[in-house]
Amino acid sequence: MINSDIELIGLSKNYGANKIVRDIDLDIPQGEFVSILGPSGCGKTTTLNMIAGFTAPTSGQIRVRGHDQAGVPPERRKIGLVFQNYALFPHMTVGENVAFGLKMQRKGRAEIDNQVEKSLRSVHLDHLKDRYPKELSGGQQQRTALARAIAPKPSLLLLDEPLSNLDLKLREAMRIELKEVQQELGITFVYVTHDQEEAMAMSDRVVVMHEGIIAQVGSPRAESYQSASYPAAAK
């Protein structure tokens, strides 16, 4: 029996009469790389926002390592988050961006420096520590965002279409890098994407969402995904 890192139990979100997420159940074990795959409007980003704590579920429960997260604000969930547009702090250097989470945890100077160094090294950016985000390429910005998210050592990392703004070649390289970082750190990754190929290439498990429900769950190597058995998955 593998320990569950995150459990979604009967999770729903309505905006008025609009049912964005309908009664989903999902169990994610510690250290798994899970992709939530689906077209825009399928409820995948809303699900991510609920796990992060930015959106309160209408009904259902989110448990992290067995603890119910209802009422826990985002800043106390100890989760990492990487956005599609990177959301780097433009007034801080790469090093200061990566140090931000550790500073908020009131870690000591030496520990912060050490951890910043380590995080930047794991994304191969240690030489750009003193640059500002605007001086970086798209790929470098993406890696800075990743380093910033992993620096405070979260046990769970949420990624919202993190590679969508990169060109194809870079995207393929980053897939490998992301997977390496995930395996090296042993963090649970929840990766939201609309790109089936991307989901297949990296994940241990792919969760296909369609119109607010989980349409299909399985390993990317399973036969069913290659076929067009489910329209959203085949897209």
Binding site: E75, L81, P90, H91, P152
Partner: protein, 293 residues
């Protein structure tokens, strides 16, 4: 004229000619020249003249800069405008932040309420403040009735009253100028900071405020220049003893009929505001460049 038309025709494929491009600017330029540039020039000229002497003289300037009374008026103008700039910006910031971020249905109402004071005239609103602040006013009467104080507090006819009145008048402008700046901050930055462990207060302090410093500067600049040139509010709420450059200019023109001295004061006020505006816009441009592109 026909030559111009011919030239314009030749250039047609490359878009409108230079003359055509600048043509729409002609009427407003003419109005500005007639009613702004020429009077300004006359005012500068006037400040170097004396009614009892021919030729140009620096006498009025010497008088201004050697007179304790006028120098005090200038200092009072700077202090008053600076205080208003600070008060407006501090009070406008939370309102602008709410307007920039809220998706609530109250947003439209708050926006309307924030701008509504501009619908009533400045003089009307200033008299409203006088009713509230004066010795026999609402606040003093209420406090005396409650037994908190025995003698009325000096709330009007002084710097305090004027700063309160001007802050109220200028607040909507501060809100609007901060709103633009706050809307330029990506909400994902705040979310990122929050998930990294920052409390609401830390997000504001470490992310939102540093990124809106250009907006803070422009709000302060706007409030400063509007206060320094305000006449009605300092005249009504300041009382006879409270002299700033704007009210002193009025006195010189209407009571002392010393246009030369009034022109000197107007020029001092103008130069003062130009200096503040120059420093402010330079600072703003530098900060903007640091944060963007």
């Amino acid at each position: 004229m026909s030559v111009l038309a011919l030239k314009a025709d030749k250039r047609r494929p490359h878009g409108p000619s230079r003359v055509q491009q600048f043509l729409p600017l002609f009427p407003p330029s003419l109005i500005l020249l007639l009613f702004f540039a020429i009077p300004m020039g006359m005012m500068v000229g006037l400040s170097f003249q004396q009614s009892d002497a021919s030729g140009l003289t620096l006498a009025s300037y010497e008088r201004f800069f050697s007179d304790q009374f006028t120098l005090m008026g200038m200092a009072r103008t700077v202090v008053m405008s600076g205080l208003v700039a600070i008060c407006v910006t501090i009070m406008a910031y939370p309102v602008a932040y709410f307007l920039a971020r809220s998706k609530s249905r109250w947003r439209a109402l708050v926006f309307a309420l924030a701008i509504a004071p501009e619908l009533a005239g400045v003089v009307l609103r200033t008299y409203g403040w006088l009713i509230i602040l004066e010795n026999q006013g609402f606040i003093n009467n209420a406090l005396i009735w409650l037994g908190v104080i025995a003698e009325p507090l000096p709330l009007a006819k002084n710097m305090f009253g004027v700063v309160v009145g001007l802050t109220h008048v200028i607040l909507p402008f501060g809100i609007l100028s901060l709103l633009t700046s706050l809307q330029g901050v990506d909400p994902n930055l705040e979310k990122s900071a929050q998930i990294l462990g920052a409390s609401r207060a830390s997000v504001i302090r470490h992310i939102v405020v540093p990124l809106t410093v250009p907006g803070i500067v422009s709000s302060m600049l706007l409030a400063f220049t509007m206060s320094a040139s305000a006449y009605a509010t300092p005249a009504i709420l300041g009382g006879a003893g409270f002299k700033v450059l704007a009210t002193m200019i009025y006195e010189q023109v209407l009571f002392y009929i010393d246009w030369s001295f009034a022109a000197v004061m107007a020029n001092v006020l103008l130069v003062m505001m130009l200096i503040v505006a120059l420093i402010g816009t330079r600072l703003e441009a530098r900060l903007h460049q640091k944060l963007h592109t």
